[in-house]
């Protein structure tokens, strides 16, 4: 039997808008995943530490403050430096469409925009994380 998918939902930067992060954490839990939510105001360093310690398969970053271009790539970069590049990173929040190509180039696998459903996100994770 396949093991449970482990997910870290994280809020990088100073942004306190955590409605989306919390709703998604709960929806993923209801979909049978093991979910750790970091709480707000985390540095990329703290997020990657948590991801590695908790042995997650995938990290979801949420930012509504406009700091995503600085912070999201740093998470991917630090994971790589720590030899944990197998942990996938996706993101969401208030992210202008024109920022997405750069973010993807920096290694963020997917960006979910306002209006995305929790089902879309669940489906994405299930399709992209191998648990067998």
């Amino acid at each position: 039997m396949a093991r449970k998918i482990r997910v870290l939902i994280a809020k990088p930067g100073l942004d306190g808008h955590d409605r989306g992060a919390k709703v998604i954490a709960r929806a993923l839990r209801d979909a049978g995943m093991e979910v750790i939510y970091t709480g707000i105001r985390q540095t990329p360093e703290q997020i990657t530490n948590a991801a590695i310690q908790e042995g997650v398969d995938i990290v979801g970053l949420s930012s509504l403050s406009g700091a995503h271009n600085n912070l999201f790539p740093k998470v991917v970069q630090i994971l790589k430096e720590k030899g944990a590049e197998d942990i996938l990173v996706f993101g969401g929040g208030i992210i202008p469409i024109d920022d997405i190509p750069e973010l993807k180039k920096a290694g963020i696998r997917e960006i979910f925009q306002p209006g995305a459903s929790t089902e879309d996100i669940i489906k994405y994770i299930k399709e992209n994380v191998k648990t067998t």
Partner: protein, 547 residues
């Protein structure tokens, strides 16, 4: 009447219902209040007009806080704005004032709100993003350059660092030759809802509450026309709570502040008239109108019955409203103009004192100048063209509105009692109860949308293939660099001995019990930075960590 209603139900109504059922088996508001099919005079048969509704400008203020309401003066049209550097934001303020805006509302960036200078490690990527960056008095001087502070009223969305920004404002006024006694405006200064929903806290709750009450005491003497707090339901509503929860949690926070101030030795009638409130206006029109009326009545009763306030002004719930940011969709963004118009109309019919209307592109970014103009025009259309401002509380007496006003008051009161049984709002926040309630409502709301039990036009029904909006406001990345350079210059040019002295003085005050606002004002005057002042207090008070 009752017999006639029974007859109608059995005959005319039943004939139709037996052939075609209604759209839903039952209709509920967002606060789970079950709506009747038809409200009739029976709903208000028991209503004690003089005690429960009364007259505008008199307790319990159900029909409005001023005797003439908008026949005297329209609400203040106050668009929340701020981005990038003080230089750029100053230009936006002048633009808004030229277009007929009547008050300013300052949005600060997150480092400013959380007490970090622009050159702090944690400010990386955040400088000037969600608001304007303020590091020292110098920035505040630039922000209000050419804006006479005795002529405008200014609202500042600032909480953990409210004392710093307030004293900077006072210092700028001083330089303009304006006395602090005539200054009009509001600082949000509502730290409790930061722990519950918004997240810009610094210190633990008891120390934060001390700063809040120190500000009350200071302003009572030095800035008597200043609203010392804006007790806010807005952010809890945006985080997902219902209309009833919004009223309940906000007023429960209000009770906590009044109690803290009384404990700090203030007489209730000496500060209560400077308490202001801030609510959200969401989509469900009638429920929202009723919500504002219920909140006014309930607060008046709480102040009178519980706190024995003697002055009518102490019992008056004056409030700012912002339309619901969380109701905006990225899909078909022009639809947001219509959503905002409905919400703004409900706020006006609910008797708001000031109003911010959101812009159509805010699911994408901070709004462009064009979008902000449409949002401001929406308010002007309501004020000048719709006619609703020409009479007071025009929906008062509506069977449905009065019934819902009653019901929201009762349900909010029950919630407040529950919070009181836990030891009050501070305890209910520390234990995570309020956060849990908000999270639960948010999750249910999202599930309803995904199950299409709740239709959001353009999002889960009536979708089209469309290009995403590309013409959005971009904050130039050089804002951060510019702020850092300016900060370095100020640090070099100021009298660093004086800075050290004032910060030492502040630290001593924090270790003792004296009012913290005067020593903060001293530090601000000599260009101590926001981060230096906040760090001084961090050393004494420690920092709050989310559970």
């Amino acid at each position: 009447m009752k017999e006639e209603l029974d007859r109608w139900e059995k005959t005319t109504l039943n004939r139709v219902l037996s052939k075609s059922p209604e759209r839903e088996p039952s209709f509920k508001t967002t606060s789970h209040i079950e709506l009747k099919r038809l409200y009739t005079p029976l709903e208000i048969a028991e209503l004690d007009y003089c005690n429960e509704l009364g007259f505008p400008g008199e307790p319990p203020f159900t029909r409005g806080v001023q005797p003439t309401m908008y026949r005297g003066r329209f609400w203040t049209m106050r668009q929340y704005a701020g981005f990038a550097t003080p230089e750029e934001t100053n230009k936006r303020y002048k633009y808004l004032l030229e277009h007929g805006q009547t008050g300013l509302s300052v949005a600060f960036d997150l480092p400013t709100q959380i007490g970090y200078d622009s050159d702090h490690l944690l400010s990386d990527g955040e400088v000037g993003k969600v608001g304007v960056a303020i590091d020292t008095l110098k920035d505040m001087e630039i922000l209000f350059e050419g804006i006479p502070l005795d002529k405008v009223s200014t609202s500042m969305t600032i909480n953990a660092t409210a004392a710093i920004l307030l004293t900077m404002y006072l210092a700028v006024a001083e330089k303009q030759g304006v006395k602090s006694e005539v200054l009009q405006g509001t600082i949000q200064n509502d730290i409790l809802k930061e722990y519950a929903a918004r997240g810009t806290y610094i210190y633990p709750p008891p120390e934060s509450m001390r700063i809040v009450t120190d500000i009350f005491a200071f302003c009572k003497e030095r800035a008597p026309r200043w609203n010392t707090i804006s007790i806010s339901g807005y952010h809890m509503r945006e985080a997902g709570c219902t209309a009833v929860q919004e009223v309940a949690f906000t007023l429960a926070d209000g009770i906590a502040y009044v109690e803290a101030a009384i404990r700090a030795g203030l007489d209730v009638d000496s500060f209560a008239s400077r308490l202001a409130f801030f609510f959200c206006c969401h989509n469900t029109f009638i429920e929202e109108v009723a919500k504002f009326r219920a909140a006014r009545r309930l607060w008046a009763k709480i102040m009178k019955e519980r706190f024995k306030a003697k002055r009518d002004e102490s019992c008056m719930l004056r409030f700012h409203t912002q339309t619901a940011g969380c109701s905006l969709t990225a899909q078909q963004p022009d639809n947001n103009v219509v959503r905002v118009a409905f919400q703004a109309l409900a706020a006006v019919l609910g008797g708001t004192q000031s109003l911010h209307t959101n812009s159509r592109d805010e699911a994408y970014a901070l709004p462009t100048e064009d979008s902000v103009r449409i949002a401001l025009r929406t308010q002007q259309l309501i004020a000048y063209e719709s006619g609703v401002a020409d009479m007071i509380d025009p929906l008062g007496g509506s069977y449905a509105v009065e019934a819902l006003t009653d019901e929201i008051e009762i349900k909010s009161r029950e919630y407040i009692q529950k919070i009181e049984a836990m030891g009050g709002a501070v305890k209910a926040i520390e234990s995570g109860y309020i956060q849990g309630e908000i999270g639960e409502s948010a999750y249910q709301y999202q599930k309803e949308i995904e199950a299409k039990k709740r239709i959001i036009v353009g999002l889960n029904q009536f979708q089209i293939e469309e290009e995403p909006l590309r013409n959005i406001l971009r904050i130039k990345p050089d804002a951060e660099k510019y702020q850092k350079e300016k900060l370095a210059r100020v640090k070099k040019e100021r009298d660093n001995t004086k800075v050290k002295e004032t910060l030492t003085g502040l630290k001593r005050a924090a270790q003792g019990t004296e009012n913290l606002v005067p020593p903060i004002l001293e530090a601000v005057r000599v260009y101590a930075t926001l981060g230096e002042i906040s760090d001084t207090l961090r050393e004494v008070f420690g920092e709050y960590r989310e559970r």
